[in-house]
């Protein structure tokens, strides 16, 4: 059993999150950005990646090529905007720009408004061309952005490159899931064969149901090693570690542990369970700032800003403020000192809950965000508190896990379950503690 010091890679969802990165950059291991974000804001993203992907902070960066978008319902890459005062439903500027940057078959997808199919990737030459364009994009896009500016052109060559090149990837789900999954080793082999001087990481993006499929798991365990890639990122669509069944958690554990014998294994949208898997070989995980520990193939559209809930460190889950507050009397949290001892003593919590337990409600403050709002929503300040508190706790968890054995983690989960599953306001949200323990000690 290989124990690895897990790496925490933060996925930047938008530039509005820059502030969180600014304050925690020295504590995390790296940043990952989606290529469509690069294309939406090339200058700002290049400058950000140069800053946080360099020596100054000791962090690395990755660019997620997001190629799967071009093989799904293309309407998901479109939005309505006004052209000459008339509404037009067309490709978002970022995805159009990205397809042009990739060129070849991905550019044709947008040009012809016809999604990529498996048949487009039947021949080896088609796969090789795709892999080359996607790899070149990641290798050169950030430096190229600097090269465009006469003032910075001379620095372009010294701009740091991604820590690894991610292969193109597509969603393996539905009736043809296995066919799409078979593409993963082919894309991995073709990208590795490019001899890039930078490690190549494959990406497995599949329906969470495939975790139940022995044939699918066997294919990945057998065919990925030997492709020449140095790592793999696992993303099982909509797999939520908190609700996943033990069987799925065990399958993920076995897959990670098996692949870890030959390569670095990361989860693309993981949480604490992924961190725990580092004790059996998982190298790292990425997630957003206060969200994104699971992600579905279909993007969330047209939803109001979700509430950022308070991360209860013992339970390893975000919960509502009153759910937690309701436990205080039962568990003996009667004063601020006890709050810091039993709930959280990060700098954010010490700053917010200073003189009275009443101050805990600041993590859930509500307001009417506009004069026309019908419902109250979380204040930006409350959301910010929750996000910073989460980030500090995730960093703390990573550091702690690095010192723990799998047995230590299992014991910790067991103790947490004993305490929190008895709390009526939380019991229904703490079941995962049992399942994680069971999956880890299985």
């Amino acid at each position: 059993m290989t124990q690895v010091d897990p790496k925490l890679i933060i996925r930047l969802g938008s530039h509005a999150e820059k502030d969180y990165l600014e304050k925690t950059a020295r504590l995390i291991d790296g940043v990952i950005v989606a290529a469509n974000l690069v294309e939406a804001t090339p200058g700002a993203t290049a400058s950000l990646l140069n800053k946080y992907g360099g020596k100054k902070y000791g962090t690395v960066y990755y660019i997620d090529p997001m190629t799967y978008g071009y093989a799904q319902d293309l309407d998901l890459l479109k939005s309505e905007r006004k052209v000459k005062k008339k509404p037009v439903f067309d490709f978002k500027r970022s995805y159009r720009g990205l397809s042009e940057q990739f060129g070849g078959m991905l550019a044709q997808v947008v040009k012809k408004d016809k999604r990529l199919t498996r048949r487009d990737l039947t021949t080896d030459s088609a796969v090789e061309t795709l892999c080359e364009s996607v790899a070149n994009y990641q290798m050169n896009r950030i430096g190229g952005e600097f090269a465009k500016d006469p003032e910075y052109a001379s620095f372009a060559a010294s701009i740091s490159r991604p820590a690894a090149i991610l292969t193109p990837y597509f969603y393996a789900g539905g009736r043809n899931a296995m066919r799409w999954l078979e593409l993963v080793p082919r894309l991995a082999r073709a990208t590795a064969a490019l001899d890039l001087e930078i490690p190549v990481h494959a990406v497995v993006f599949a329906d969470e149901q495939l975790l139940y499929d022995d044939e699918a798991m066997e294919l990945l365990k057998t065919d990925l090693p030997g492709t020449g890639v140095e790592g793999v990122w696992l993303w099982f669509s909509s797999l939520n570690e908190h609700v996943a069944e033990v069987e799925q958690l065990v399958a993920l554990r076995d897959l990670a542990s098996d692949l870890a014998n030959t390569m670095q294994v990361n989860t693309m949208h993981g949480g604490y369970y992924s961190l725990a898997l580092s004790r059996i070989g998982l190298s790292g995980l990425s997630h957003g700032i206060g969200y994104g520990e699971q992600k579905d193939v279909a993007p969330v559209q047209g939803q109001s800003t979700p509430t950022v809930r308070y991360y209860l460190p013992n339970v390893k889950k975000r919960l509502g403020v009153p759910q937690i507050e309701r436990t205080f009397r039962n568990i003996g949290v009667t004063n601020v000192a006890e709050f810091h001892k039993q709930i959280c003593d990060c700098v954010v919590c010490k700053g917010v809950v200073r003189s009275s337990l009443r101050e805990f409600s600041a993590f859930g403050d509500l307001h009417y965000s506009s004069p026309s709002s019908q419902r109250k929503s979380q204040t930006p300040a409350a959301a910010k508190r929750c996000r910073f508190h989460f980030m500090l706790n995730r960093i703390r968890e990573r550091d702690k896990v690095r010192q723990q054995s799998i047995e230590d983690i299992v014991a910790e989960l067991e103790e947490a379950a004993r305490k929190w599953c008895r709390q009526p306001s939380i019991a229904n949200d703490a079941d995962h503690l049992h399942r994680w323990r069971e999956a880890l000690e299985d």
Partner: protein, 137 residues
């Protein structure tokens, strides 16, 4: 099988029932973090407050919500169609000190289970809701 189709159908009979019990100051759909309290009432005579969750079927969800409302009201109830109240439901609510109101098909309400006064009530939340219902009333 109850004759009620929507939770909102329970509001009028339950509101009238607790009004008769002295909780004349009332307001509905009050936001408590991400929850919405269906009915909050205050009795000036007893200086006591109550919060009620109306549910047609999902009594487990009602129990979860009412346990949270114990932070902001002295007494907390779930109101269910009488046909949905059985021994299992009663014992689950009794365990957590949450009261139960059974609503008959004719709209007649009956206190099936007496709540315990909440030991978890926070004065700052309670005060906030009492002032809201008194303003609304």
């Amino acid at each position: 099988m109850s004759s009620y189709r929507r939770e909102a159908d329970l509001l009028a009979p339950v509101s009238a029932y607790v009004r008769r019990k002295g909780f004349r100051w009332q307001d509905t759909e009050l936001a408590f973090y991400e929850y919405r309290i269906d009915l909050y009432g205050f009795s000036r005579v007893d200086a006591m407050s109550l919060a009620i969750e109306l549910k047609l079927k999902n009594w487990r969800r009602a129990l979860q919500q009412t346990i949270i409302y114990q932070l902001c009201a002295d007494w907390v109830f779930a109101a269910l169609p009488e046909s949905a109240v059985n021994d299992v439901v009663q014992s689950a609510f009794a365990e957590h000190g949450v009261g139960l109101i059974g609503v008959g098909d004719t709209g007649r309400c009956r206190q099936v289970l007496v709540p315990r006064q909440s030991p978890d009530v926070r004065e700052w939340y309670r005060k906030h809701f009492v002032s809201l219902v008194c303003e609304a009333g």
